[in-house]
C-alpha cells in the first residue's frame, strides 16, 4: 500500500508534466485538426533553452545554487524566457510549415509536422550534442513526510506550477475574448471568419499558447529529472499525445486528466513483478500505457471526456 501511494505521488508529478505538454497537442488539434508531431520537440528545445539561460546566470551543476529572492528571480526569468522562446518557435513553425497547407489534403500537414520534428531534433543535436545534458538542480531538495510516503519540494513545485498554468489556461479559454474567438474558430472556421474573427491570428495565438506551455513544462521537467537529451521530445511527445487522446482530444480538462492518468499508469506499471511480465513492468511501461489506452478507447471511443458528437452528414 505504501509503495502504491508512493508511486501515485510520482505518477501525479510526471502526469502534471505530461498534461502540460498534452495541452499543446489538444489545443492545436482542437483548432486545426492536426497532430502536431513537432510539439514534443519544441518541448525538448525548451529544456535546452532553460539550460542555456541558467548557464547565462552562471549556474551550473557545480556552482552553489542561489537562495531566497535571487532563486525566485532566476526561476521566473528562466520560466518566462523558455516560454517566450518556445512560443515564438511554435508560431514560426505554424507560419512556415502549416499555414501554406491549411487547405491541402489532410495528411500533408501531418508529414510536414514530422519533417519539422526531424529538423528540430537535429538542431537540438547540433546545439547540445548527442549525450545527456545535465540540468542544474537549483531548487532546494527538501523532503516532506506524510505518514509513510515522501514528497519532495520539487514535486510540489511541479504540481503547483502545472496547476497554476492549467487554471490560467482554462480562464483564458473560457473567460476572455481571445478564448471565445479560439473556440469559435475550432467550431467553424468560416463562420468565425464571417463574424470578424481573424482566423490566422487566432490559430497563431493557439500555437503561441500551446508552445508556451511546453516551454513551462520544460523547466519543471528539468527540475524534476535533472537531465535532458535531444531525443527526449519524440518519446515524451508520443506519451503526451496519447494523454491528449485518452482524455478526449480537443478537450482541455481531458488533456489534464489524461496526462495525470498516464503518469499514474506508468508509475504503477513498474510495480508489476517479473513473474507476470519478463524483465518486470518497467520495461513494459509503454506497452502497458498503450494497452490500457486501447482498452479505454474500445469502451469510450472519443476518450474519457470527449464528446460523442454525431457525425455531420
Amino acid at each position: 500500500m505504501t509503495l502504491f501511494l508512493q508511486e501515485l505521488v510520482i505518477g501525479i508529478t510526471t502526469g502534471a508534466i505530461y498534461a502540460l505538454i498534452a495541452l499543446g497537442y489538444t489545443m492545436v488539434y482542437g483548432i486545426i485538426e492536426l497532430i502536431n508531431f513537432a510539439h514534443g520537440d519544441v518541448f525538448m528545445i525548451g529544456t535546452f533553452v532553460c539550460v542555456t539561460i541558467l548557464g547565462a546566470f552562471g549556474i551550473t551543476n557545480s556552482s552553489s545554487p542561489p537562495a531566497g529572492f535571487a532563486l525566485v528571480g532566476v526561476l521566473l526569468v528562466t520560466l518566462l524566457g523558455s516560454m517566450l522562446f518556445c512560443a515564438v518557435l511554435g508560431v514560426v513553425i505554424e507560419r512556415v510549415a502549416y499555414r501554406p497547407l491549411r487547405n491541402a489534403p489532410r495528411l500533408a500537414p501531418l508529414i510536414s509536422a514530422i519533417g519539422v520534428s526531424l529538423i528540430l531534433e537535429d538542431i537540438g543535436k547540433l546545439w547540445k550534442g548527442i549525450n545527456l545534458v545535465s540540468f542544474p538542480q537549483i531548487f532546494p531538495q527538501i523532503t516532506y513526510y506524510i505518514g509513510p510516503i515522501t514528497i519532495s519540494s520539487v514535486n510540489i513545485l511541479v504540481i503547483v506550477v502545472a496547476l497554476v498554468l492549467m487554471v490560467a489556461l482554462q480562464w483564458l479559454v473560457t473567460r476572455t475574448r481571445t478564448g471565445r474567438a479560439m473556440r469559435a474558430v475550432a467550431q467553424d472556421r468560416e463562420a468565425a471568419a464571417l463574424m470578424g474573427v481573424n482566423v490566422n491570428r487566432i490559430i497563431a495565438t493557439t500555437f503561441f499558447i500551446g508552445a508556451a506551455l511546453a516551454g513551462a513544462a520544460s523547466l519543471i521537467y528539468g527540475l524534476q529529472y535533472g537531465s535532458t537529451i535531444f531525443v527526449l521530445g519524440f518519446q515524451l511527445g508520443l506519451v503526451a499525445f496519447t494523454a491528449a487522446v485518452l482524455g478526449g482530444i480537443g478537450n482541455l480538462v481531458g488533456a489534464m486528466l489524461g496526462g495525470v492518468l498516464i503518469g499514474v499508469i506508468e508509475a504503477l506499471a513498474s510495480l508489476i513483478p517479473d513473474s507476470v511480465l519478463p524483465h518486470g513492468g518497467a520495461a513494459w511501461h509503454v506497452a502497458v500505457i498503450f494497452a490500457i489506452l486501447i482498452l479505454i478507447l474500445v469502451f469510450r471511443p472519443s476518450g474519457l471526456l470527449g464528446q460523442q458528437t454525431p457525425e455531420k452528414v
Binding site: 485538426e33 495528411l107 510536414s112 526531424l118 529538423i119 487522446v245 520495461a283 509503454v286 472519443s302
Partner: protein
C-alpha cells in the same frame, strides 16, 4: 488544330503543312532524349558490344546469354520509342505550344537522364523528386503571372467517324515514319563520323547499312501500331462506347445497355484523358508506352547495368534489393491509408511480425527453444516459400486483430490506437527474449533456395529478381483490389462512412479487410527482409519507421499506385543514398559541397553532414509538402477532387455569370 478541319488523307508519306509542325514538334521532342541516351550515355556501348559479339563470335569476352538479353532490350527500347512517336503525333491536337512541350521534355526526360548519368540511378531519381515539385510550383506561378488558360479539350474527338479515324491513322503513320527517318539519319551521320575517326570496326558497317534500310520501314508499321493504340479507346459514332465496355457487362442485354448508357458519360469524361487531347504525353495511351519502357529497363537491368554505370554492379543491385521491400510496404500501407482512408501510424508492427515469423523459423531459434535437433539448413531454406505465405497470413491475422477494437473509432483516435499497437509489438518482441533473443536480435536466418537457384550466394541478382517478382505480385493484387467491389467499398468509406453504410457497404468487414490486406503485404516484406539481411534486428521497428512509410505514401500521392511506388523509391533514395553520401561527396575538393561544408564547419566546429541528415530530410519533407501537397503523382480521383475545390473557390462569383455561359453551367451540373 481540330482534326475535322484537316484534309482527307491520301496515301502519301509527304506531310501537309499543319502536320509538318506536329512532326517537328515531336521528332525534336523525342529525338533529343533518345540521342542523349544513345550517344552521350553508354547506350552506344551496349549496342556495339552486343552487335560485335553477335557478328564476330569469339572476339569478345562477353557471355552470350548477356548479349542476347541486351539485344532484346535494345530492340524493345527502339520499337517502343518509334511507336510512341506515332501515337503522339496522332494524339496531338496541336493546341499546345512547341516551346512548352520542349521545356517539359527537358525537365522530365533530359534532366533525369543527365542526373542519372552523373549521379547514378537512385540518387538521380531522388534529386528529380526534389526538383520536380519546385518546377511545378514555378510553372504554376509563371502561368498565373501570364494569365495562362489551358487549351480546352477538344469536343469532337470523343466521337470519330471513319474519315477522322483514317486521318488519325495517317498522322500516326507519318509520325512513326519520319521519326525513324530522322533517327536513322542522325545515327548514320554519327556512325560515319566514328568510322572515319577509326573508332568503329568495319564489320559494324554491315549493321549500319541494314539499319538505314530497315528502320524507316519498321517506323512506318510501328507508327501505325501507335495510331491503332491512340484510336483504341475513342468512341465511334455508331455504338457509343467502343472497347471500354468490352470487359464488363456480362449481365442480360437490357441491363448491359442500361449500363452502357450510364457509363457513356463517364467514358466521355475519361476519354478526355485517354484519347487525343491537348496533353498527349500524359494520356493513358502514352503511359502504356512508358510502362513498357520501364518494365523492359527493370527486367534487363542487371545485364545492362555494367554498360551504363561501369563497375560495382553487385553493390548497386543489393541496394535495389533493399529498396524493393519499401515499395511493398508502401503499397500495403496505401491500401489502409490511401484506399480505405484509415490513418495507420503503427504499420511497422506487421513488418516486425513478418520478419520475426521467418526469423524464428528460418534460424536455429525455434528448434533451440523447443529442444529439438536443428533442421537441415538445406531443407530449411526450402521452407522459405511456404513460410513467406504463413508470415503474411500471420501479419494479416494481427491486422484484423488490431482492426477489431478500432471499428468504432474515427479519425485520429484510430491513428493513436494503431500507433499504440506499433509500440506494443516491438516491445513484446524485445522483451520475450526467450524466443526472439531480445535486443541482440536473431542471427543466422536462412536465405531461400529454389531448384538450383541459391539466394545465399554472393551475387545479389537472385534477390533482385525475387523482390521484382514480389513487387509485381503486390502491384497486380493492388490494382485488382482497387478496381474490385471491395476496393470501391474502401474508397466509399474513405469518402463518407455514413453514405457508404447507407448504400449497403458492410463497414465492419470492409475495414477489417483493409487492415488485413495491408498487413498481409507488410508480412511478405518482413519475411523477405529477414531472409535478405540474414537476421532480424529489433532496431528496425520503431515508430520512426512507421512514419517514414507514411511519408512514402503521402509524398508519392496517397491512393495512387504509381505514385506510391515512386514515393517509396524517392524517400528511400533520399534517405539511404543521397544523404548517406553527402559526407563522402563533401570530402572531394572538386565538389561544390566541399566549399559549403567548409563554410559551415567554420561556424560549427566538427560539423558533418551525417549529423544533420534528419534535418535535411525534414526540410525536404516540408518543402515537398508545401510545393506539392497532393503528392508527386496524385491519383486521378484526387486530382479531380482538387480541381473541383478550385472550382468551388469561384462559386460566389459564379452567381454573376450569365445563363448559358460555361461558369453558369458548372454550378448546376449533377455528378
Amino acid at each position: 488544330m481540330p482534326i475535322a478541319n484537316t484534309l482527307v488523307p491520301t496515301r502519301t508519306l509527304v506531310p501537309k503543312r499543319d502536320i509538318r509542325m506536329l512532326l517537328i514538334k515531336w521528332i525534336v521532342g523525342l529525338l533529343v532524349p533518345v540521342a542523349v541516351f544513345t550517344f552521350i550515355w553508354s547506350g552506344e556501348a551496349i549496342i556495339n558490344n552486343a552487335l560485335l559479339s553477335l557478328l564476330m563470335p569469339g572476339s569478345t569476352t562477353l557471355n552470350i546469354s548477356i548479349v542476347i538479353q541486351v539485344a532484346i532490350f535494345i530492340l524493345i527500347f527502339y520499337a517502343t520509342v518509334i511507336a510512341l512517336a506515332g501515337y503522339l503525333v496522332a494524339a496531338d491536337s496541336g493546341q499546345r505550344g512547341m516551346i512548352e512541350l520542349w521545356i517539359d521534355i527537358a525537365v522530365f526526360v533530359l534532366l533525369p537522364l543527365f542526373l542519372v548519368i552523373s549521379q547514378g540511378l537512385i540518387i538521380g531519381l531522388a534529386l528529380c523528386a526534389i526538383i520536380w515539385p519546385v518546377y511545378f510550383f514555378a510553372r504554376r506561378r509563371v502561368r498565373q503571372m501570364r494569365h495562362y488558360t489551358p487549351p480546352p479539350p477538344l469536343q469532337n474527338l470523343n466521337t470519330l467517324d471513319a474519315e477522322q479515324r483514317a486521318n488519325l491513322m495517317s498522322r500516326a503513320t507519318l509520325g512513326g515514319f519520319w521519326f525513324s527517318v530522322a533517327l536513322t539519319v542522325v545515327w548514320l551521320v554519327t556512325d560515319l563520323i566514328f568510322y572515319i575517326s577509326g573508332q568503329l570496326p568495319t564489320t559494324l558497317l554491315i549493321w549500319v547499312a541494314i539499319r538505314t534500310i530497315v528502320l524507316p520501314i519498321a517506323g512506318y508499321f510501328l507508327g501505325r501500331l501507335g495510331g491503332a493504340i491512340a484510336l483504341r479507346r475513342t468512341l465511334t459514332q455508331k455504338n457509343g462506347a467502343n472497347g471500354e465496355n468490352d470487359t464488363d457487362g456480362t449481365g442480360s442485354s437490357t441491363s448491359k445497355r442500361q449500363l452502357e448508357a450510364l457509363s457513356t458519360t463517364r467514358v466521355r469524361e475519361e476519354a478526355k484523358d485517354l484519347v487525343p487531347n491537348d496533353l498527349p504525353l500524359r494520356s493513358t495511351g502514352a503511359q502504356r508506352f512508358y510502362l513498357i519502357l520501364v518494365v523492359a529497363f527493370v527486367l534487363f537491368y542487371p545485364v545492362i547495368d555494367p554498360f551504363l554505370f561501369g563497375s560495382g554492379t553487385d553493390g548497386r543491385l543489393a541496394g535495389y534489393g533493399d529498396a524493393g521491400y519499401y515499395v511493398i510496404l508502401a503499397l500495403g500501407l496505401n491500401i489502409v491509408v490511401g484506399f480505405a482512408g484509415l490513418l495507420d501510424l503503427g504499420y511497422v508492427a506487421f513488418f516486425a511480425i513478418g520478419a520475426y515469423a521467418w526469423g524464428i523459423v528460418g534460424s536455429t531459434q525455434l528448434t533451440n527453444v523447443l529442444n529439438l535437433a536443428p533442421v537441415n539448413p538445406h531443407l530449411l531454406s526450402w521452407l522459405f516459400w511456404p513460410m513467406i505465405i504463413v508470415a503474411a497470413l500471420t501479419a494479416a491475422f494481427f491486422g484484423v486483430l488490431l482492426g477489431a477494437p478500432t471499428l468504432r473509432l474515427r479519425g485520429d483516435y484510430l491513428a493513436i490506437v494503431t500507433l499504440g499497437f506499433g509500440e506494443i509489438v516491438p516491445i513484446v518482441f524485445l522483451e520475450l527474449d526467450k524466443y526472439t533473443n531480445g535486443p541482440n536480435g536473431i542471427v543466422g536466418v536462412q536465405s531461400p533456395s529454389f531448384f538450383g537457384i541459391d539466394w545465399s550466394v554472393v551475387t545479389p541478382a537472385p534477390y533482385y529478381y525475387l523482390i521484382l517478382a514480389l513487387i509485381a505480385f503486390t502491384i497486380f493484387t493492388n490494382v485488382r483490389l482497387r478496381d474490385s467491389r471491395l476496393g470501391r467499398a474502401w474508397i466509399a468509406i474513405r469518402e463518407d462512412e455514413i453514405a457508404a453504410a447507407s448504400s449497403g457497404v458492410n463497414l465492419v468487414a470492409t475495414k477489417l479487410f483493409a487492415f488485413g490486406t495491408g498487413a498481409f503485404f507488410s508480412g511478405i516484406a518482413g519475411a523477405y527482409h529477414a531472409a535478405k539481411l540474414g537476421g532480424v534486428s529489433p532496431d528496425n521497428f520503431s515508430f520512426g519507421d512507421s512514419v517514414i512509410y507514411l511519408a512514402m505514401v503521402v509524398i508519392g500521392g496517397i491512393g495512387s499506385i504509381p505514385g506510391v511506388i515512386v514515393g517509396a523509391l524517392a524517400v528511400y533514395a533520399i534517405n539511404q543514398f543521397l544523404l548517406a553520401q553527402l559526407d563522402s561527396l563533401a570530402a572531394d575538393p572538386s565538389n561544390p559541397l566541399f566549399a559549403i561544408h567548409n563554410a559551415i564547419a567554420h561556424v560549427f566546429p566538427g560539423f558533418t553532414f551525417g549529423n544533420v541528415r534528419n534535418l535535411i530530410f525534414g526540410v525536404i519533407l516540408v518543402v515537398i509538402m508545401i510545393f506539392r501537397p497532393e503528392g508527386l503523382i496524385p491519383s486521378a480521383r484526387r486530382r479531380r477532387e482538387l480541381h473541383r475545390t478550385a472550382d468551388e473557390g469561384a462559386e460566389v462569383g459564379s452567381l454573376d455569370v450569365a445563363p448559358g455561359a460555361p461558369g453558369f453551367e458548372s454550378e448546376v451540373r449533377v455528378e
